[in-house]
């Protein structure tokens, strides 16, 4: 699974601090702090994140608490639990994904409303 351009934080590992970089990242462990990546981040089923997240795309299958800003898309997958603020051009919340918090997308309502 660990490919050349992918980082993995495995289950059982705890990172407190800053994670940054230019590759895709899969998180199955615990991260507290901040994640600043210009690529895709996946929080796997066992992933537990409490962080400010700034990425290209974020998919959550595990638990996440924090402020998330994505350049493209945030997807909360089935079985995930998320709380905090989400900001992205596209935000997807799947069936059976649990979310509490704020969502901010660019919304253009028709003028006559």
């Amino acid at each position: 699974m660990a490919k050349e351009n992918t980082g993995v934080i495995a289950e059982g590992i705890v990172v407190k601090g800053e994670i940054g970089g230019t590759v895709d990242l899969i998180i199955e462990g615990k991260v507290e702090g901040s994640i600043l990546m210009d690529q895709n981040v996946l929080v796997g089923q066992s992933g537990r994140i409490s962080a400010d997240v700034n990425v290209k795309t974020l998919a959550v299958e595990g638990n996440l608490q924090g402020t998330v800003s994505a350049a493209e898309v945030i997807a909360l997958r089935r079985g995930s639990r998320t709380s905090g603020e989400l900001k992205a051009p596209r935000i997807v919340i799947d069936k059976e994904a649990y979310f509490v918090g704020d969502v901010e997308m660019d919304v253009q309502l028709p003028d006559n409303l």
């Binding site: 050349e4 495995a10 289950e11 590992i13 705890v14 601090g17 800053e18 994670i19 590759v23």
Partner: protein
């Protein structure tokens, strides 16, 4: 079990702890506290206080290493700092500047 992989282009600055091996081809700064092995590959850089069961160095390390079992410096591995471990191996072609202490009563 899948291990933690800090690939090239990935940077962790802070405290990393837990169980499971960590393979580093990117950059790890701060502190590492592991029950298993830390493998610093060619191109990998660790600037940290390291405590682990086993440490293998093919890349660069700046900091202290405290290993429960062993530290192995491979050819091309470079280190500035002190090593404490019951078993320490330095291969021909590895370079280190620092104290070595094997008297830790494993």
């Amino acid at each position: 079990m899948e291990h933690t992989y800090v690939g090239p282009g990935l940077m962790i600055d802070g405290e990393v702890s837990g169980r499971g091996d960590i393979q580093v081809l990117g950059l790890v700064k701060g502190a590492v506290n592991l029950q298993n092995g830390l493998f610093i590959e060619l191109g990998g850089v660790v600037e940290a206080e390291v405590a682990a069961n086993e440490v293998e160095i093919k890349g660069y390390v700046k900091g202290q290493i405290n290993a429960h079992d062993r530290v192995e410096m491979k050819p091309g591995g470079k280190m500035i700092g002190d090593i404490r471990a019951p078993r320490i191996i330095i291969a021909d072609g590895a370079t280190i500047k620092g104290k070595i202490d094997m008297d830790v009563g494993a």
